[in-house]
Homo-oligomer: 207 residues x 2
């Protein structure tokens, strides 16, 4: 790649007056004296202009430019790309974190219990709590994983099993459904609470 001269060196015809166009431009001549410009002169000009344009476009894309120099333009572009790459990485990390925390239960932000979360942790499918209110009334609390039509099927199953619903309230939180209901019990039945609980668990498992 070293410039070593050539037979063509020294054949420049200089100081040519040229009234129009590129005056004073160096000319090139063969041994027979026919003048011609370098063959790739235009191509080289196009190449230079293209590169210049690209650099301009690059400079336009980079927000902070410390200098207008060609080298510094590329330098700034490099640091900008690094910054953008870091940005993307940080944002992806944040997004991943948020998705994870959002998936495993948004109620993690409340200090109270998260039914769905607790259910998944303990591995049980549902949580049933039965409390005897009065002689023939039971207060039941059911927490189970929410499914489409789950509540309806629970109600159908409970009525089919002979539960007489007095008052029922349902609320869902994320993936869990809490059913708080007051049912009429079979008066006089011994161990009614435990039997009702087992029956409810069977119903829920059947859903």
């Amino acid at each position: 790649m070293e410039y070593v001269g050539s037979a063509l060196d020294g054949l420049f015809i200089t100081k040519e007056g040229n009234s129009k166009g590129r005056v004073g431009r160096r000319r090139y001549s063969n041994d027979d004296g026919t003048e011609y410009k370098s063959k790739n002169l235009h191509a080289e000009r196009r190449r230079r202009q293209k590169l210049s344009d690209r650099l301009l476009a690059l400079r336009a894309l980079v927000p902070i430019i410390t200098n207008m120099n060609k080298a510094t333009i590329i330098e700034d572009a490099i640091s900008y790309i690094e910054e953008l790459q870091n940005n993307v990485k940080v944002l992806q990390g944040l997004l991943y974190e948020m998705e994870a925390s959002s998936e495993e239960g948004t109620l993690s932000r409340s200090e109270e219990i998260d039914p769905a979360e607790e259910m998944r942790k303990s591995g049980i499918q549902a949580e049933v709590e039965v409390t005897q209110i009065d002689g023939n009334k039971l207060w039941i609390k059911i927490i189970f994983e929410k499914t489409r039509g789950g509540f309806t099927r629970l109600m159908e199953a409970m009525t089919a099993c002979g539960f007489e619903l007095i008052d029922t309230s349902v609320t869902t939180s994320k993936g869990a459904m809490l059913v708080s209901s007051c049912v009429k019990g079979i008066h006089g039945e011994i161990n009614e609470v435990q039997r009702t609980k087992e029956l409810l668990l069977q119903i829920i498992n059947g859903i």
Copy 2:
């Protein structure tokens, strides 16, 4: 910026044999015949190399390179920067969405009611529901905006007002707190349900 020639044109001494160093390099001479290289030759070389190095670094940073050309390197860098910028924008949008949905209540994803949201819509501070379970027992459901220590103060206020709590369940969903409780009522009191409800509302408003 037009090349117009100069008095120095045509003074190149070519075909100089040079045993050492940069043989054949063009020399430059003054009118007095003293030879010298162009003054900014080394500086120009350094500049070119610096630019070349920057381009190399840029190429190393861009993952996809369609061509090794200088122009295409910059072109690829431009498209890569655009891609990164778009990436950042999309990720920021996603993050903003997730933050918003996470802040305004995760229950928006469940098809059921969102207590906090409904409360805010209707403009009421709390929702109280009282149902008579038995002669001297009441089942109360309270939904109110969750505040720090709100549940504790509610319990203190209720016990201070003479409520005898039999069983209490509390669950929070985002900004709302649902208290489902069974209390002992004053046996024989007429319109007990309505009076209890009003009393609870007063308590909640006092919190």
